[in-house]
Symmetry: C2
Subunit: 270 residues, 2 copies
């Protein structure tokens, strides 16, 4: 592999995944990953542009940011690209009225959306709300539509909580796709539109940007398909087999965000 | 399409799906489909061999048969090929100790199976037991195995209860496949091994057998891939679009089991 200086040449903006990079979520409120609070602070003091790009759909953006600020992170709501607000824009543009299969905590993000007489389903990381009854209701709504539309807030396979690996929204989206014989529209990583909106908000071109995440497919592979570079951290849901993934090869693997920031500040911010 | 006489020529054995053909299940105990009790009785009095081939994995075979007998069907336990007993044989042969993600009612089928220190997961139509917690536990068991083995009792997408369409085991199997990046082994229709064991138990060759079911893919397509013929009934989960399925064309579509038996007795049993 080329030297880091070569691999990081020309980087002007950094997209950061949140869960598994900044902190591991959990029933206990989660825990910051060692060194990440300082790493974000150092990035923010540098000349690099920074934006957070998350598939978090269990907590509303405001609540997520408050928890991260309490843990010491330098982050504000306007710094975060998240799927629920992005999906609201799509629903409005297309006149879609969703049946919501989502976590109760995030329901407030959809307060301004008409949910009467649904003509689509929006599925998020509903966690315990993924009961058989709730899944079956969403399935029945889709089966009654002439052209079923399923919008999935991300399609992650799983994430890491302090207590262990947890199923994300992706497996449940797959379940409904299979049951109804349809393909979901993904709002979130690895959808190119989602990455592009984050780049636009950051004001940086794809070839000048690097994504740092713990998901080899959703973060690294997705970013690379958009013309960005992608680093994988060995925290969060990282597994050693990711470094030999059959389809995705990261532009680099680092132990954690702190190491990624060390390298960026050494090789780019001069 | 050829005349019925031609399409049914040489049939000596009939495989019958149960749910959606004999009866629609339901919280209220379900309801027989009009004409099916008499149709089964007429088939049994004919010279045709008859066997029931079901993916039912919510009720144990004994309980299912008792309910059908109470509804008036001429059926005994030995007439039924079902996935739970078939999976027990596989578990024993391969020394597999399952973590069971199944309906409580069917747990007794696995009484003789060692479930300590699991080295595989068996998933059935668990219905309300498909809670987030139970799905996540099965996911965690699979992720801790070096070579994860997932055995799925059928892979049906949905079935029809008296109250409406209900998610079957297939979508949940897909969810775990996606979460873990693996392919499940299906015990049940449309697995060729499963159809072949039903044929063997009936003592009829594939080209002499016809499958009657309400699932265009699992029943009709699966049977055809084994060299059998397949009829679809317009009861149970049948939907008009099934008659224009992009991949599977049935050897015939009939309104219900009674019509199928009329045709068989008219053209074959002479």
């Amino acid at each position: 592999m080329a030297a880091w200086g070569e691999r990081l040449a020309g980087v002007r903006g950094v997209l950061l995944d949140i869960s598994g990079v900044l902190y591991d979520s959990g029933a206990d409120g989660g825990a910051p990953i060692a060194g990440s609070v300082e790493a974000v602070a150092r990035l923010k003091r540098s000349r690099l542009k920074v934006r957070f790009c998350t598939n978090e759909s269990q907590k509303p953006r405001g609540k997520l940011v408050r928890a991260l600020r309490q843990a010491g992170f330098d982050i504000s709501e306007g710094d975060v690209t998240a799927p629920a607000p992005a999906s609201c824009q799509i629903l409005r543009e297309r006149g879609l009225r969703p049946h919501l299969l989502i976590h109760d905590d995030i329901r407030s993000e959809f307060d301004q959306i008409d949910t009467s007489n649904p003509n689509c389903v929006v599925i998020g990381d509903a966690k315990e709300a993924f009961s058989y009854q709730n899944m079956n209701k969403a399935f029945q709504v889709l089966m009654e539509l002439e052209k079923p539309v399923l919008i999935s807030l991300g399609k992650g396979r799983y994430y890491k909580e302090t207590s262990g690996l947890m199923l994300d929204v992706g497996p449940y989206t797959k379940a409904l796709e299979y049951a109804c014989g349809i393909d979901a529209e993904v709002v979130g990583k690895p959808s190119p539109e989602f990455f592009k909106s984050a780049l636009q908000e950051m004001g940086v071109e794809a070839h000048q940007a690097i994504m740092i995440g713990d998901d080899i497919v959703g973060d690294v592979g997705g970013a690379q398909r958009c013309g960005m570079r992608g680093l994988q951290v060995r925290t969060g849901k990282f597994r050693p087999s990711d470094e030999h993934h059959p389809e995705v090869k990261a532009d680099g693997y680092v132990d954690n965000l702190a190491e990624a920031v060390d390298l960026l500040l050494l090789h780019v911010d001069q």
